[in-house]
């Protein structure tokens, strides 16, 4: 699982049939120092994540298979919206 920032949406007419009706978002994985990954990911969202929001993404397809069937290629799913991250300031005693 990792944190990601929502940076956009994806619209796709032609898709695997199990993905009909899914909401697809462009998400960028965040590092511990807050920098974002060079390559974006497309994630499935059932939580209603908004642009700019930080979310937690799971790369395990179990949730997707449960909702969309065993044949679904969906893998990255938004599993929660982050409202707070506790991280001591860099250099402080751990």
């Amino acid at each position: 699982m990792f944190l990601a920032r929502i940076e956009g949406t994806v619209v796709a007419t032609a898709k695997h049939p199990t993905l009909d009706g899914c909401r697809f978002l462009v998400a960028r994985r965040l590092e511990a120092d807050g920098t974002a990954a060079v390559e974006p990911n497309v994630v499935v969202d059932w939580m209603g994540a908004a642009y700019g929001e930080t979310v937690m993404v799971s790369t395990d397809g179990d949730i997707a298979r449960e909702k969309l069937g065993n044949n679904t290629p969906a893998r990255m799913v938004v599993v929660g919206l982050v409202d707070a991250v506790q991280q001591p300031a860099a250099g402080s005693a751990a």
């Binding site: 462009v26 974006p40 290629p73």
Partner: protein, 95 residues
């Protein structure tokens, strides 16, 4: 899933039975910078993905990697590690 630009297709002869009759696309992953620019460039390391959607060269797609890439063939086990799941009509990314 990652986003990619389809750069071409390939055929295998011979190939293991799982790949008989499959369409294989060469996909170049797209970086955030190129996605924002909308310049049709990729920027990532190219890979091969199974294509059942009929994506054309130059189209943007989203592909699944890992174990989930073989789910569409469930319950048959296949050695597939990348699968085109979406042909992207529009990717709306804000600045």
């Amino acid at each position: 899933m990652r986003l990619g630009m389809v750069r071409g297709h390939l055929t295998l002869t011979p190939a293991v039975a799982s790949f008989h009759g499959r369409t294989l696309a060469i996909v170049e992953p797209v970086t955030m910078e190129n996605l924002r620019a909308g310049n049709g460039q990729g920027g990532g390391k190219a890979l091969i993905a199974v294509d059942e959607l009929g994506a054309a060269t130059g189209q943007m797609v989203a592909f699944t990697e890992g174990r989930e890439a073989s789910n569409p063939f469930w319950p048959t086990p296949v050695p597939v590690d990348a699968y085109l799941a979406l042909i992207v009509d529009t990717a709306d990314v804000r600045p």
